[in-house]
Symmetry: none
DNA sequence: CCATAATATAACAAATTGTAACACATCTAT
DNA sequence: ATAGATGTGTTACAATTTGTTATATTATGG
């Protein structure tokens, strides 16, 4: 069994049951206690689970504050709760506004609609809303925030590049990011 | 059952019923009374419940979210507007809560007061409120957010280290960060 | 007020779990 | 081929959790 495969199984179990015990996992997968601890550390470092004494528990996502003045319906793409730090707003030709939970969903929406006249996204570092046209997007950093693959938005390309040095990923403009996203999400590659 | 899991169950029961009795919990979970007392002390130290003779009761206000509480007065240190992405909350022995605008002010407050029983800070990447004792602080990165020098809070030391790779600064625990801060802020070095 | 029962706390030992360091194997890219 | 990165297991040691015991502290009914 591949390492990544085992880790995904562990993560699935955490999300299904809310918790896992390290000793059980070691016996179940037939690996050493140390290997399981490394798996849990891996999940913990990416924010996918929380390591506790004896195992790991699911991340509690409720403590993230919803965006101020957010519409009740949640993300227009996936329905998830709207978050201020990853806010994404599309302005449509008919005056309607669509809110997305994160740049991932926002760019998906943008790609799928022809009636969007402008789009704003929250700069991940400073929180200011900026024009998507002028933003730099970091696609696929090793950081789990909302939808996967993670996409972060930066007002300054230089700051995005600094972030990339630590977390990896590709720094793209909004058109490139859309293309990359559509390719990675395609069901029939 | 994991220790953390039992403590979360106890906390849920406190929040649902308003109170719990130590003797009942010991019988319910099949552990000694001493273990339950330690669990209640744990919840008390984090400001999640209040320990009373015979058990514990819910905190006066349910939420520890700074935005949910009244941020009326601004930062307790500098008076600046409170920001959710850099939230910092100090829980005092008398039940009062102090809100700081960022870890800079939060750690300054923490250093200057002896009656703080616990402190929470918002993880800069994920936005979750975490215990300051377990957090990693990045002191002096090349990024201006609130007070200078900038201090960022990370739930995971690994993520803090990644951030440091791009933005520089020193990754410290809360005690080291306090010491560093006091030194850099001293008027007469 | 005092006696008594219930609860809280401190200190210790035992068991379990976490972590660091090292050796070794496998895979990858130049 | 070879150097580097990654994953794994073993070992030794540190840290956490837990129960027990003994000793405070608190509540309550005379």
């Amino acid at each position: 069994m591949l390492t990544e495969e085992r880790r995904q199984h562990i993560l699935a179990q955490i999300q299904a049951a809310g918790k896992v015990q390290a000793a059980h996992l070691a016996a179940h997968f037939g690996v050493s206690r140390m290997t399981i601890h490394r798996d849990l550390a891996y999940l913990h470092a990416r924010g996918w689970a929380r390591k506790v004494f004896g195992g790991a528990v699911a991340m509690e996502t409720e403590s993230v504050e919803p965006a101020a003045g957010a519409p009740a319906g949640g993300c227009a793409m996936c329905g998830a709760r709207l978050r201020q730090r990853t806010a994404f707003v599309l302005q449509c030709a008919d005056g309607a506004r669509l809110h997305a939970c994160c740049p991932h969903c926002g760019l998906m929406l943008l790609a799928g609609r022809g009636d969007v006249v402008s789009a704003l996204a929250a700069d991940f570092l400073h929180g200011r809303m900026i024009n998507v046209r002028d933003a730099a997007f970091l696609v696929g950093p090793e950081l789990s925030l909302c939808c996967a693959p993670t996409i972060l938005c930066f007002a300054s390309r230089a700051e995005g590049e600094r972030f990339r040095q630590g977390f990896g990923g590709d720094l793209l403009d909004h058109l490139q990011a859309q293309a990359s996203l559509q390719q990675s999400m395609a069901l029939h590659p």
